[in-house]
Subunit: 206 residues, 2 copies
C-alpha cells in the first residue's frame, strides 16, 4: 500500500467545495490554462476529445453571458417544482447568477455533439479540471445553465457545439460549508445490487 | 505560481492511459475503496450523489456480466457504421470484451436516473476515480456497454438505476500507447468562439 504517501488526489477531492462567491482579486491565467491542459488528458469516446473551452475575461462578454443565462433561469424557475425546487430554495438559490460577473474568469465548456459518448467524455474532463483547479489554488463551481442555447449564442459558438457548463473561476469569498457526502460503504455493493460492502468484507479476506 | 511544486494531478492525468489488458495478479481492495471514496467527494446536482458502485470480484458474476455485455455488443457491431466503425476497427476492437473476465475487479457504476443532472454528476465522479486509481497504482478503462440493460439485470440492479459504465481495474499488461491528445491552445478560445488563445495572449498581459 502506498496510499499514505500519495493520497493527494483524495485530499484535493475532500477539501474541494463548490464556490459561488469570489474575491475581487485577479487569478493567474497560467494556472487556469494548466488546469485545462490537465482536462485535455481525459479519455474520450473514440479519442474525439469533444471538449472546447472559451475563457471569458472581458466584462462586457461576462455581462452578456450572465443576461443570456438569467433569461433561461427565469423561465426555469417559473416551472420547477418538487424536491429539486425545495433544495434550490433551501440553498437560497434563484434565477440570479451574479457569479457570472463577479468571478474573474468564466470557463465555458462546449461539447461536439457529433462525437460518440460526448457528454460522458466532457464530464470526465471537467472532473479532471476541478481537481486541477483545486491543486492550483483556484476555486470553481460547475454551473449548468437551464437553457444552454442562450449563452452559446452569446459566445458565438456554432450549433453543433452544446454548451455543457460554465465554470466560474476565482478565489473563494464563499463561507458556505461543503455539502455532506455519503461514504463509499454507503453507496457500494459487492458482486450484486443489495449485497453491502460491510457484510462482505470478511469474505473478501483483505 | 505554485505549479512546479504541486502539479501532481496534471502528472497523473498525463501519464494515465486506458488499459484493456490486465496482469493475472490481485489488486489491493483497499486501494479501490479509497479511490471510490475520492469519487464520492465529487459535486452533484442538488447534492443527490446519484452514483452507486458494484464491485464485481466473483468469477461467476464477471462471466455473467461479460456475456450480458457481449450480447449487446454483437447487436451494436451489426449496425455501427461510419467514422466510429472505422475507429473501432483501426483499434482492433470488436464485440468481444475479454477484459470483463480478465480484470481482477470490475467496478460497475450505476446512476439514479431520478436525480437532477445525474449523468453529469456521475461522470465527474468517474473522472475523480480515474485519477485516484492512477495515484493508487491501479490501471483502468471506462467501458460503456452498448446495451446497459443487459448487464444491469445481470447485477440485479433496479430499473431506476442506469448502468453508466463498467471500469475494469487491475495492473496493466497493455503495451498500447496512450492516444495522442490535443493541447489546451488547440481547443481553447478567448471571450468568443474562434478567437484563438495564441492570438490573444499578448492582450491578456500575463
Amino acid at each position: 500500500m502506498t496510499l499514505s504517501k500519495t493520497n493527494i488526489v483524495h485530499e484535493l477531492a475532500r477539501r474541494r467545495k463548490s464556490v459561488r462567491k469570489f474575491l475581487d482579486s485577479p487569478v493567474e491565467f497560467e494556472a487556469i490554462l494548466s488546469s485545462l491542459e490537465t482536462a485535455c488528458q481525459a479519455p474520450s469516446g473514440a479519442n474525439r476529445q469533444p471538449w472546447r473551452f472559451i475563457l471569458v475575461k472581458d466584462p462586457d462578454v461576462k455581462r452578456r453571458v450572465r443576461r443570456a443565462c438569467e433569461q433561461g433561469e427565469r423561465e426555469f424557475y417559473e416551472q420547477v417544482s418538487g424536491e429539486f425546487r425545495e433544495w434550490l430554495l433551501s440553498r437560497g438559490l434563484s434565477w440570479e447568477k451574479p457569479f457570472l460577473e463577479s468571478a474573474p474568469i468564466l470557463v465555458a465548456v462546449l461539447m461536439d455533439q457529433n462525437a460518440p459518448y460526448a457528454r460522458e467524455s466532457v464530464w470526465i474532463a471537467i472532473g479532471f479540471a476541478l481537481l486541477a483547479f483545486e491543486e492550483n489554488g483556484l476555486n470553481s463551481f460547475t454551473y449548468t445553465p437551464s437553457n444552454t442555447d442562450y449563452p452559446r449564442k452569446a459566445l458565438n459558438a456554432p450549433e453543433d457545439y452544446k454548451l455543457e457548463a460554465i465554470l466560474p473561476i476565482g478565489k473563494s469569498a464563499d463561507d458556505r460549508m461543503k455539502e455532506g457526502k455519503l461514504r463509499v460503504h454507503e453507496v457500494t455493493f459487492i458482486d450484486r445490487w443489495g449485497n453491502s460492502l460491510d457484510a462482505s468484507m470478511e469474505d473478501i479476506g483483505n
